[in-house]
Amino acid sequence: MMLETRDLTVKYDLISALSEVSISAEERTITTIVGSNGAGKTTLLKTISGLIRPASGEIRFLGDRIDTASPSAIVRMGISQVPEGRELFPRISVYDNLMVGAYLRRDKKAIRRDLEQIYQHFPILKDRRRQLARNLSGGEQQMLAFGRALMSDPKLLLLDEPSIGLAPVIEQKIMETISVLAMEHNVGVVLVEQNAALALSVASHGYVLEQGSLVLQGPANELIKDDNVRAAYLGL
């Protein structure tokens, strides 16, 4: 198992945002966590990245406990996140944003190679590499956030609603890229989504999160047929 959380409980002051959440994710697979507004999806990803400390429970990555590690150590171990709201650096160039993603790496040659690869996936980023990040459109910014996360050469990629606010074409493009990455580069993906239909269509395993607790889990192709899921998340 690549990533595992066990009985993870996270609190904001006294209010629990996550209660005893246990999930696992494997390499070369897309694992999705679907849930509506305020279910605790972002909280889960922030906790895995070390931005929030859990009240109890553990997080393991490749066998090691990471729930007390610093965000920097967690990136170094190979976990990278495309956060909610993208969190780009607005007043530096597209190129600089990408290079900050490679901050912890010293292998100059491999960094250049990865940069070229990202430019191939998203040619628009190459065309706009000298522009400030804030001058990109929403879709381009999402691609940039995605490219920046890849520049750390991650083993595990955490994606927080990457499709939000995007046109369906771009949404599809992003999802395709995620699948390609997981398969071709041995990257594990944890995909958090409100858009359950989209997420379950690309993922192999899924969890349903409601008000901080897991209520359902299983292979994505089964969850998509589940009556409760269809009623609650797919509007069917």
Binding site: S49, L51, S70, P71, S72, I74, V75, R76, S80, Q81, P83, E87, L88, F89, P90, R91, I92, D96, N97, M99, V100, G101, Y103, L104, R148, S152
Partner: protein, 287 residues
């Protein structure tokens, strides 16, 4: 023409003093109220080293040594302030204000007790004048100007052309985003405080070679720097440079026409005027 030279000299002083403060504030959103005293310590480094080394080596060498020593010592002091004040009191801006203000008084008192309240001066390292286009240019002033340009060039290269400098800029623009790239906030804070404090000290050595060095020289400079940073746009180094020249021009003109004592009041009024039309300053980030 002389007035142009005076404007350039005053403006570059404002730049060299304010830029360290602007850097620290831009990256860490905290203000070191002892920044003025760090500048003052730069001045005293020059004075002390002159006392210690004069006669044993050329004055030019002493001047260079003073720059290096002051930057190293005061930069280290900045690191100590980061560890003992900013880090411990993070998210308590009022406590940070009190603690660094306290430190600024302590440093003043230490210098008053150890050296005395009287102003000191060092002999010109590079005496003489250049006459050019009707201007009288003291060579010492030209040297100070040259070093300030080099100092700003160094800061520019660091921020724009090194990985660490890029991380510093990224952190200033988005802390969460920076943390998610593996940038350690402690590391950036220590780097920024070292550089910002060293810049104050360098400014102090440079100005100490042309002005009177006194325990209280930092106080007034600090308030002027606040006005410059606010008008320039908080967090914007280029804004600080533009504002430094703006106030360099205004203050020089006022002094030249005998109204120098009103300069602080006029400057404050200009600040209010700029803020009422451009709330985020001349080049501040509008977000």
């Amino acid at each position: 023409m002389q007035i142009v030279a005076n404007i350039v000299f005053l403006s570059t002083f404002y730049v060299s003093f304010a830029v360290g403060l602007a850097l620290v504030f831009g990256v860490m959103r905290t203000i070191n109220f002892a920044h003025g005293e760090f500048y003052m310590l730069g001045g005293y480094s020059l004075w002390l080293l002159f006392g210690l080394l004069s006669g044993t080596m050329p004055d030019g060498a002493t001047f260079i040594i003073a720059l290096v020593v002051a930057a190293g010592v005061v930069g280290t002091l900045g690191i100590l302030v980061q560890l003992s004040i900013f880090h411990r009191l993070r998210e308590q801006p009022f406590s940070i204000f009190m603690a660094t203000l306290g430190l600024s008084y302590v440093l003043q008192v230490v210098v008053v007790k150890a050296i005395g309240p009287m102003g000191q001066s060092v002999p010109a390292v590079f005496p003489g004048f250049v006459f050019f286009e009707g201007m009288i240019l003291p060579i010492q002033r030209l040297v100070v100007f040259g070093f300030t340009v080099v100092m700003m060039g160094g800061l520019y290269l660091f921020l724009m052309h090194t990985d660490l400098g890029r991380a510093v800029r990224a952190t200033a623009q988005n802390r969460t985003g920076a943390m998610l790239q593996g940038i350690s906030m402690n590391h950036i804070a220590l780097t920024t405080m070292f550089v910002g404090s060293a810049l104050a000290a360098l400014s102090g050595v440079l100005m100490g070679s042309v002005l009177i060095i006194s325990p209280f020289m930092g106080g007034e400079a600090l308030w002027r720097a606040f006005i410059i940073i606010i008008v320039g746009g908080i967090g914007s180094l280029s804004g600080a440079v533009v504002a430094a020249f703006l106030f360099g021009i205004i203050d020089t003109l006022m002094t030249t026409f005998g109204a120098g004592k009103f300069a602080p009041m006029v400057d404050a009024m200009i600040m209010l005027l700029v803020l009422s039309f451009l709330p985020s300053g001349l080049l501040g980030a509008r977000e």
